[in-house]
């Protein structure tokens, strides 16, 4: 498994799961927080990579 996007997804899912279980109590709150965190991880990572694409290093 060397696909960077898949690795980023695995990382995001595991990290978001732990943080949502630490930060929230109810299932509904945890689900919302998990999805928000996961979305933020994925969208911001893709955005950052897109912004860095023209850099020569």
């Amino acid at each position: 498994m060397k696909n960077h996007f898949v690795l980023m997804l695995v990382f995001s899912v595991c990290t978001s799961l732990v943080l949502s279980f630490i930060a929230k109590k109810s299932v509904k709150e945890r689900t919302r927080y998990f999805l928000s965190l996961l979305g933020a991880f994925v969208v911001l990572s893709v955005l950052a990579s897109w912004l860095m694409f023209p850099f020569p290093f």
Binding site: L7, V10, F11, C14, T15, V18, F21, I22
Partner: protein, 142 residues
């Protein structure tokens, strides 16, 4: 003349709760630091325990699989010290892997940087998990 201020209610509460740390609280924190989620399991929080164990084991295992480096306690620089602390936060996973000869790392690997981030984050998340179990054991959180 120097006026001595009365301690605020918050400071008093902190001092009182520091005195209330029981051996059981220390025990669950140590258990959680050694094996992610074990502290929560001892306190009966099985859902959290399983999620923490699965997620941190997954991150740590992926870090090793992707050829990341486990930084040993033989510290050369400040950054190496910080990396060691981050890695060692994973508890027994770190020590078993290190003593088992895993985590040599391959800097030429395509996924080396990713792998190191997986290993650091596994350790750092376990530190957060230990703080969470401390709060639960102290009755500050359910």
């Amino acid at each position: 003349m120097k006026m001595q201020r009365e301690p605020t209610a918050e400071v008093r509460n902190q001092a009182e709760s520091a005195a209330d740390i029981s051996p059981r609280t220390v025990g669950v924190c140590i258990a959680g630091a050694l094996i992610p989620g074990l502290g929560h399991a001892i306190l009966g929080k099985w859902d959290r325990a399983l999620v923490f164990l699965f997620s941190i084991a997954c991150l740590f295992g992926m870090g090793l699989y992707l050829q990341g480096t486990l930084f040993s306690p033989a510290i050369q620089t400040v950054t190496a010290l910080l990396k060691f602390f981050a890695d060692a936060g994973a508890g027994l996973f770190y020590w078993i892997a290190l003593l088992g000869g895993l985590g040599k790392g391959n800097p030429t690997s395509y996924t080396y940087d990713y792998a190191n981030v997986f290993l650091y984050v596994a350790g750092l998340l376990n530190m957060l998990v230990v703080m969470d179990v401390f709060d639960i054991a102290m009755g500050r959180k359910q």
